[in-house]
């Protein structure tokens, strides 16, 4: 039984550090065993010639950001401003930005 308050503090710090250790070990373990899932996704990408991750599905330029063109922001009319929430969250791909 800890007798002093500082002992409780040291125990809490040790437990926190141990939990961090467990977190890093868990991440490492999941990484080691992720090969099958990653391979499955990579095979699907190769077989269907996919180019993007399915993160957003509301706007086409957010669903396939790498395939977006310079006019996607004005897809509905020349004065149309961006109105999809996902479009405000992502930057245009680097190959569309001025170098």
């Amino acid at each position: 039984m800890p007798g002093r308050k500082s002992d409780i503090f040291f125990i809490v710090v040790a437990l926190g550090a141990a939990a961090f250790g467990l977190m890093i070990a868990h991440a490492h373990h999941r990484n080691e065993n992720a090969g099958h899932g990653l391979k499955e996704k990579a095979m699907l990408v190769e077989r269907l010639g996919l180019t993007d991750l399915c993160l957003f599905t509301d706007a086409r330029y957010a669903r396939h950001p790498s395939m977006a063109d310079l006019h996607t922001a004005f897809q509905d009319s020349p004065m149309s401003v961006e109105h999809f929430p996902s479009g405000t969250l992502i930057l245009p791909p680097p190959h569309l930005r001025p170098r």
Binding site: R4, K5, S6, I8, F9, V12, V13, G16, A19, F20, M23, I24, H26, A27, H28, R30, N31, H36, G37, L38, E40, K41, A42, M43, L44, V45, E46, R47, L48, G49, L50, T51, D52, L53, C54, L55, F56, T57, D58, A59, R60, A62, R63, H64, P65, S66, M67, D69, L70, H71, F84, P85, S86, L89, I90, L91, P92, P93, P94, H95
Partner: protein, 377 residues
């Protein structure tokens, strides 16, 4: 008395002092932990997505050639395949057929792609888990899709892509190329875009330049550019990170500023009493520093551990409304965790260090004042 024993005594006193104002300190620790949680969740999520994109999209086409008409992506004639094959170094050129399908009954958008190798049988489709969820269909069920002419065509679900592949396949409908042409009214002799394989990867940029010169109405997109797209999307300057980061950092600045400028009268008086009973200025500052360390370490450990559980065990549940936007279909993916010591160190220096500094500076100011004048306030 040894240095260790001296500091243990100071920690004992700091904990008692925190305990006397436990409600305030508990609220402070919870707010602090929440800010750490938000920042850590963003860092874990974005790094995991970037790494997954790099690993998974390695198999993406080396070059995609799109045709642009009046600034918009247009169908590309199959005749361009022969033109591209003539470029030295180009190994294989294939047409890609794909498009988007809006399902009015569910309000979901799907990505329809032509079947790869081995091809699906005519009249059948393979669908992603997201499509299966929104349409409530499984293997063997019929899915009616509205064609260009307004007539519905029923397709039998031959396969549902696995949960594990949801990050790339959630909204996919794979169907035979001939069925896709009929559904979208794409005439024979045209493709959505073309994909190229180049014999020597070092020549990709040269080949892309030649494509631009040979087909001025087209634009080539390199695999390297596709991969860099995901680094850019989750770059710290991107909207997603900026919105969440800016909010959390602003909250933290207000929080630290408040801490730095509002040492309570009770705390000042406590410091005056300590100095009056013989504590040295350095000991008073050490006591306040330990208070800062105790609160910030608790918040750092708690916030980071909860962020890990949030991102890698609950599929970043709290980010879902942000990422979902107006979409009906949202992929449910389990990211592969990756913890970089650099990330943890950056988080530590971003949150713990400023807080301790913000605690020590006003304490130092108060501790150097004559105890008699503090107690008379």
């Amino acid at each position: 008395m040894s240095l260790l024993e001296r500091h243990r005594n100071i920690i004992d006193f700091a904990l008692s002092s925190l305990g006397r104002r436990w409600k305030k300190n508990l609220a402070l620790t919870l707010v602090y932990a929440f800010i750490v949680f938000t920042l850590a969740s963003v860092i874990f999520f974005t790094e995991a997505v970037k790494r997954e994109a790099r690993a998974v999209l390695q198999g993406a086409p080396e070059i995609v050639v799109q045709r642009l008409a009046a600034g918009r992506h247009d169908l590309i004639p199959a005749g361009h395949i022969d033109t591209l094959k003539e470029i030295t170094g180009v190994g294989q050129v294939q047409g890609r057929l794909w498009g988007y399908y809006y399902e009015p009954s569910t309000g979901a958008n799907y990505t329809v792609v032509a079947s790869g190798d081995p091809p699906l049988a005519p009249g059948t489709i393979a669908i992603g888990q997201g499509v299966s969820r929104t349409l409530n269909v499984a293997e063997g069920d019929l899915v009616p899709l509205k064609g260009m002419d307004g007539a519905y065509v029923s397709f039998e679900v031959a396969r549902v892509f696995s949960h594990a592949s949801e990050l790339v396949s959630a909204d996919l409908i794979e169907m035979p190329a001939a069925d896709l042409r009929v559904l979208f009214g794409i005439p024979e002799g045209y493709y959505t875009d073309l994909t190229l394989k180049v014999r020597n990867e070092k020549e990709l940029v040269v080949v892309a330049d030649k494509i631009r010169r040979l087909l001025p109405d087209s634009r080539p997109i390199l695999r390297d550019e596709i991969l860099r797209t995901y680094d850019a999307i989750f770059d710290w300057r991107s909207g997603l990170l900026l919105v969440i980061f800016a909010g959390a950092v602003a909250a933290f600045i207000i929080f630290a500023w408040d801490k730095a400028t509002s040492l309570s009268m009770e705390e000042r008086r406590e410091m005056g009493v300590l100095k009056a009973v013989g504590w040295e200025t350095s000991e008073v500052i050490a006591m306040k520093s330990w208070e800062g360390v105790i609160i910030s370490l608790t918040a750092f450990f708690g916030g980071t551990l909860f962020a890990y559980v949030h991102v890698f065990f609950s599929s970043a549940l709290l980010f879902e409304p942000v990422l979902k936007g107006w979409a009906v279909l949202y992929p449910r993916f389990q990211l592969v965790p990756h913890i970089d010591p650099y990330q943890l160190l950056a988080l530590f220096f971003l949150t713990v260090v400023p807080y301790i500094v913000a605690t020590v500076i006003p304490s130092w100011n108060a501790a150097t004042v004559d105890p008699d004048s503090i107690m008379r306030l």
